[in-house]
Symmetry: C2
Subunit: 204 residues, 2 copies
């Protein structure tokens, strides 16, 4: 079984990453989303094991100490992280693994998996980004200001990623992400492994 | 204007390359097919300037002598080649250029354009390839045998290409080629150039 690819999808909040990833998962059954562990309390409607795996702070710190996390970060006082064992197991099945993480986490993933493929999602403008954050209506003014500053800092790392998607029209951006995931599976070294028997028979 | 990509699509005859390329051109208006020059006589139904640009042998040899061809090959006694001036002009418009050529031509293109992206199309088996050649019903037994030997030789070069598409189900293979062309446009260095103003404004 050929190992699956690891995709890292990063975006400033408000760029539309969650919608984009949901559409990819609906379109491509071979992609498996990695569910992050977090020490943050569940928000209304969030389901344990679907949105996140919710653990308390002590349990999270025990995972860090035991080296069980591929990457982790503390954001606004809460931990978020990815289980290394889970990734290794999941990609053995041949499915592609998708991680939704920030630029800090992406850097840690690249160190451990240099063949991980990085996608960065950009908003079409700062104004649109700010409007999207305001439209969600769940954050106070100062939180929005902080997220905008955070967004600028994140976007400064865009050049470290393999692909840039500008999410202006969601249907186009969905085609973009679906196309990238599909194309990466078709790269020659990967395909030569997957179709080794076919290639041998064709060459005679 | 960001320069377009150059795609080289190669396949043994019978792999379904022509159908695949026609579907790509229908799906993606940003792709421009390069029309080859040939010294071969038009077959029934072939249109000059659409299927090929038909010239006589002396005219073709004058183009070779003048260094006007990006690549050319002599196949079964006929010349086939690509105009270098046309490629350079066409990609300035920002459109992607697609060349349908053999492995010999692909090698010449890679030398002149190291960033050209190579796609190799494989049949799902030798039996299917042979069946497809027979079903076309336009070639004699000995021509089919020669094409099968030629196919094996071509397939021996598959590892020189960036992507491998196995054309078992045409609709899947069409999605493959459409996805690859789309994904290659989204690679970071290319997107960073195309969206330089946006990136500068986002970083503030």
């Amino acid at each position: 079984m050929t190992q699956g690819n690891i995709f890292v999808v990063t975006a400033p909040s408000g760029a539309g990453k969650t919608t984009l990833v949901a559409a990819l998962l609906a379109a491509d059954a071979n992609v498996q989303l990695s569910i992050s562990f977090t020490s943050r309390a569940p928000r209304a409607g969030e389901v344990d094991g679907k949105d996140y795996r919710f653990v308390d702070r002590a349990a999270f710190e025990a995972m860090i100490a035991a080296g069980e996390l591929l990457e982790y970060a503390e954001v606004y006082g809460n931990y978020y992280g990815t289980s290394l064992a889970w990734i290794n197991e999941a990609r053995q099945s041949g499915r592609d693994i998708l991680l939704e993480i920030d630029t800090q986490g992406a850097e840690q993933v690249r160190k451990l998996f240099p063949d991980a493929i990085g996608l960065f999602v950009l908003p079409p403008s700062l104004e649109v980004l700010e409007q999207r954050l305001k439209n969600r209506g769940k954050d106070a003014e100062d939180v929005i200001a902080r997220r905008m500053a955070e967004a600028r800092a994140e976007i400064g790392h865009a050049a470290e990623f393999d692909y840039l998607i500008v999410n202006e029209h969601i249907d186009e951006a969905v085609r973009d992400i679906v196309g990238i995931v599909r194309a990466e599976r078709l790269r020659q070294p990967r395909q030569a492994k997957r179709h080794a028997a076919l290639l041998a028979s064709l060459k005679g």
